[in-house]
Amino acid sequence: MRALLALLVRDLRLAIRQGGTVGMTLGFFVITVTLFPLGVGPELELLSRIAAGVIWVAAMLASLISLDRIFQADYEDGSLELIALGPTPLELVVLAKALAHWLTTGLPLLVTAPLLAVLLNLPVNGFVALIAAMLLGTPALSLIGAIGAALTVGVRRGGVLLSLLVLPLYIPILIFGVAAVEAAIGGFVVAPHLAVLGGLLIGATVLTPWASAAALRLALE
């Protein structure tokens, strides 16, 4: 436990001290969302219809481009092999690092999303659903992303490959994340969508440690 906490604290401290990493992800998120009104035109009605989808897609991409932070630096400087040689099972290490990624990526995205929703004229009754869906969905993005990050950790130019591997796996989260918001706007029940998102989160929590740890062991040989 103490080892996991140390790992979590270190990852957070690195993200803060290295400055910019959190800010850049947020900047990317905001700019990507800003591109849509410029691309599709400023009609408020159109924007409010696509707002949920745009925010989710942008959040997904922002999460994706920061995935290499989870394992890549530790792999390159040799830290990862020492962590793997520590007494903590690698499966738990993966969970701690995915949590650190969420705290430095998903959580800031979650906090910024309502502001962007205002810019995109998202109907007021969709806000709570958006936040609830992102609260369940963004940790799942970090977890599923950790699998892709672990699979590409020792690979030259792994970034493009990473997006090819991870984005198809993100699709269910996108679908249900957007559906939750649309249900809320349309006055339907939101709970089933959130339940599915919760189920996806639990599934990712079960699958990710196994798959990522196996991929990391492979990278460290």
Partner: protein, 209 residues
């Protein structure tokens, strides 16, 4: 305690590195690995650490297979590889404290200080690692061995970037470790002047076509 390997086979990719390799280290013993580039010194150390799985043979700790419980095996060893595993934005002391915590050691300020003192790094304790020279970084990496005690040391070319003074310091630390009953397996080209150390020569493996 005895740590031994029996009939170890190592394959990297599809290339056989060595086969039928035996070794044995006991309490207070130092084993120096010798051999040319590609003979498998690093691979053997990685197999002993559990990072690399042997393609055949057995690793035994006191007669029990090490692969019964890798986490337990990891708990009794310290590995120094080619990279120094330092985070540039953390200070030297922060880096060391982190490694001690990851290894489950309750960190007392004294333990880390003593390790820094021993490797002549005390003045650098509060300096971020990005300002260190290659030799200083290597010394911090070696100080990790002292900050988090372990029975078995696996050192892969530990003298890289070290000057003669620092190499002598390392030799002293290793002798001390052995004198207190620790074991060490060291791959090195330099003669560290470790009296009484045993040597293991690795031969490049030849495939029969």
């Amino acid at each position: 305690m005895i740590f031994e390997g029996e009939e170890l086979v190592c394959v990297r990719g599809e290339r056989p590195v060595f086969a039928g390799l035996d070794f044995r280290v006991g309490d207070g013993e130092i084993l120096l690995l010798e051999g040319r580039n590609g003979a498998g010194k690093s691979s053997l150390l990685r197999i002993c650490s559990g990072l690399l799985k042997a393609a055949g043979g057995r690793l035994l700790w006191d007669g029990r297979p090490a692969d019964e419980d890798w986490d337990e095996h990891h708990g009794r060893l310290q590995y120094v590889g080619h990279q120094d595993a330092l985070k540039p934005v953390l200070t030297v002391a922060e880096n060391l404290r982190f490694w001690a915590r990851v290894n489950g050691v309750r960190v007392s300020a004294g333990g880390v200080d003593k390790a820094l003192e021993r490797m002549d790094l005390r003045d650098l304790a509060t300096v971020p690692a990005r300002f260190l020279s290659a030799g200083q970084r290597r010394r911090v990496n070696l100080a990790r061995l002292l900050a988090t005690p372990a029975r078995l040391w696996l050192l892969d070319e530990p003298t890289t970037s070290l000057d003669t003074v620092a190499s002598a310091m390392l030799a002293e630390v290793v002798r001390d470790h052995a004198a207190h009953g620790g074991m060490a397996m060291i791959a090195t080209h330099l003669d560290l002047g470790l009296a009484g150390a045993r040597r293991l020569a690795l031969e490049p493996y030849r495939l029969a076509v």
